[in-house]
């Protein structure tokens, strides 16, 4: 089977083109570095199956970060290279094009964003470009599928260019200048009022103001839409569900099956948060509490990503992130991490050095609350008042800043400067936004639900076997003296490692005071879930992972202990 690899500069639309070609959904956004790993898909054409690979973007075949390394490593597998070129910035894409032509592999060029180029008054003579490069060139608009059919039809025309560029790099640049002069004419454009408005979003004063407004609106929208969905959809649905599940519980009668499916009854009634059965808590927490915020967060994020604002946000926050040992691009893992830490940690691949990646991964892993953690924080503390939620979030923010400052000072390694291409603002399409939101929501459901069920199941089995009680007794002296929490908080903490939402259902029945819950929730927040541990290990390697876990445990002990002293006092055995 032939393998066709899509290669091109970052943010030229490879992922959109890939989805169009194969029908396989991949996340595409309007910022450089969305794709950090490759995806595969297949198309059947003339009774022949072709494998299509979507590679991360790279400006040249000499990689400067890990995502670009992935792209370059895919080259060996390629039988045909589809070089995706941004028609609106032909000149800068041609370096990679020429490097690809030198690989002695068949190449075909997709001249993407053809519509936008025409809109900007950029005209490219396609025939002339084909003549000069000696490979086929097909204008495409991946977003609307224009030109995709022709691209597929002409895949067989892809050929090894006869042109060779042996004179070294200077000759390549001269050649690029020559090609651009011959094939491209650009109509002159005046600087308009709209351009000035656009510029304001990257300037120091107005840029920071814009960032504050955008982020505030983002979180307000997430809350507004999330609460709206809970109030109008999920709460009514679960109150309808309460009746049949109660009937089912009565019909089932007490026993092991009841313990697992329904869980414990609270005052003889099913309690969606505390019962801890698969059909009660196992359904209510993910669907009734977390899912609405997952949907609203990813909806808002998708709009933000597709406008092209994120590189501008990275620019105006660059100063801040340099203090923490990263640069402006470090905002991306954090934003993604607020949804789910797994893509958050993966996106650290676009940072250039090991030091930056380590700091970013540790900060996301320890201090950034994902949707499930946020749901736990609000779910546990919500009815005790906003004060306690602010203590938790404030502590996490303070640890984020302090840990960043500390790691920046103590970890050796370079912290290179920000170097970033800012794409034009684009209007997000409703179709792209809903598709992307659905893909992320789907992966939440696919990844979270099995783990949650497994967690609920093992928690009830361990509980029935008396293990939970033993563990609680064993941990009690330490938990009490250090955190001011009962020993039963330990099993809750451990179940939280599987999925954060589980800790919620196990903490609530302990009848803790508001301050105890605040300490518990803060300490729990420092530990990510098992999926995040796995991806951290993959990205950091075993040695750095051990360092990260040491930091995690130290942070939890230190901050949890401090909070206990501040909120409860020195008294070693509170309540006694």
């Amino acid at each position: 089977m032939k393998t066709i690899v899509l290669m091109g500069d970052p943010n030229v639309g490879k992922s959109v083109l890939f989805s169009r070609l194969t029908g396989v959904d991949v996340i595409a956004s309007n910022y450089p570095g969305t794709t950090v790993d490759y995806s595969k898909g297949w198309i059947t054409r003339h009774e022949e199956t072709l494998e299509i690979v979507d590679a991360p973007g790279t400006y040249s075949l000499e990689p400067t970060n890990r995502a670009e390394e992935v792209a370059v490593s895919l080259l060996d597998k390629a039988d045909v290279i589809v070089n995706v070129v941004d028609a609106t910035s032909l000149e800068r894409c041609l370096l990679l094009t020429i490097e690809l032509l030198e690989q002695h592999k068949p190449v075909i060029i997709a001249l993407n964003m053809w519509d936008e180029a025409q809109h900007l008054g950029i005209h490219i003579n396609v025939r002339e470009l084909e003549n000069l490069l000696q490979v086929p060139v097909v204008p495409t608009v991946a977003i609307t599928a224009e030109g995709i059919k022709e691209l597929v039809e002409r895949l067989d025309d892809a050929r090894i260019s006869k042109r060779q560029y042996t004179g070294g790099e200077d000759q390549v640049w001269t050649e690029i200048g020559h090609i651009v002069r011959k094939v491209q004419t650009v109509a002159h454009r005046h600087h308009t009022f709209r351009d000035r408005l656009v510029d304001a979003t990257v300037k120091p004063g107005t840029g920071l103001l814009t960032a504050a407004i955008v982020l505030f609106t983002l979180f307000w929208l997430v809350r507004f839409v999330g609460e709206g969905m809970i109030g109008h959809v999920f709460d009514p649905l679960f109150s309808l569900y309460l009746k049949p599940i109660t009937t089912f519980s009565e019909w089932l009668g007490p026993g092991f099956l009841h313990d697992i499916l329904i869980g414990k009854l609270m005052d003889g009634k099913v309690d969606f948060i505390q019962s801890m059965g698969i059909l009660t808590t196992g359904l209510f927490v993910p669907f009734g509490m977390v899912l609405p915020y997952v949907i609203s967060f990813y909806l808002a994020l998708a709009v933000l990503e597709d406008t092209g604002y994120l590189p501008r946000l990275a620019t105006v926050t660059d100063n801040l992130f340099h203090r923490l040992g990263m640069h402006g691009h470090g905002i991306l893992p954090i934003l993604l991490g607020l949804g789910c830490k797994v893509p958050g940690v993966l996106s650290t691949r676009t940072l250039e050095t090991r030091k930056q990646r380590f700091i970013s991964t540790v900060l996301v892993g320890i201090t950034i609350p994902c949707t499930a953690q946020t749901a736990m924080i609000f779910g546990v503390l919500g009815h005790h008042g906003a004060k306690y939620i602010l203590i938790v979030l404030g502590t996490l923010a303070a640890v984020f800043a302090l840990l960043g400052l500390l790691l920046n000072k103590t970890i050796c390694g370079e912290c290179p400067e920000l170097f970033l291409d800012i794409p034009p603002y684009r209007r997000p399409s409703l179709r792209a936004v809903t598709k992307k939101t659905w893909m992320r929501v789907r992966s939440f459901l696919v990844e979270a639900l099995p783990l949650l069920f497994l967690g609920v199941l093992s928690a009830s089995i361990l509980d029935a076997a008396g293990f939970t009680e033993k563990l609680a007794d064993f941990a009690a002296p330490f938990m009490k003296s250090w955190f001011g929490l009962p020993g039963e908080a330990m099993p809750a903490l451990l179940s939280g490692l599987l999925r954060k939402e589980l800790a919620l259902g196990m903490l609530v029945p302990l009848n803790l005071t508001a301050t105890q819950l605040t300490i518990g929730v803060t300490v729990f927040s420092f530990f990510p879930c098992i999926a995040t541990f796995a991806v951290m290990l993959k990205e950091l390697g075993i040695r750095d992972m051990l360092k990260a876990m040491t930091l995690m445990i130290l942070t939890a002990l230190l901050i949890g202990g401090t909070l206990r002293i501040v909120l409860i006092g020195w008294n070693l055995w509170p309540g006694n």
Binding site: Y59, S60, E62, T64, T88, S89, E91, R92, L95, L96, L120, E169, W173, G177, R189, D199, V202, K203, P204, G207, P311, A314, T315, V316, D318, N319, H322, H327, G328, P416, E417, L418, F419, L420, D421, I422, P424
Partner: protein, 77 residues
């Protein structure tokens, strides 16, 4: 010709790139994103505390660190 470093341009000023300094890989990175000799650059924004610069080349904006931009010599018209 009035030559200066890219960092010395004021906000809104335009100039032509005349020379790049620094390592081979670094120069390649600058050129591959569009910053190369003969190009007209416009200073869009300069961030304080030695923060990054935003320049416009060929109608596209690029964020570039202060240190990097000290390796770019430009000529004001």
């Amino acid at each position: 010709m009035n030559e200066s470093l890219l960092t010395q341009l004021r906000q809104g000023e335009e100039a032509t790139v005349v020379a790049l300094r620094g390592g081979c890989g670094f120069q390649r990175r600058l050129r591959s994103i569009g910053l190369k000799e003969g190009k007209t650059v416009r200073m869009v924004a300069k961030h304080p505390f030695a923060g990054p610069l935003v320049v416009e080349v060929d109608g596209r904006q690029i964020t570039i660190g202060r240190g990097m931009s000290q390796k770019i010599t430009v000529a004001r018209p």
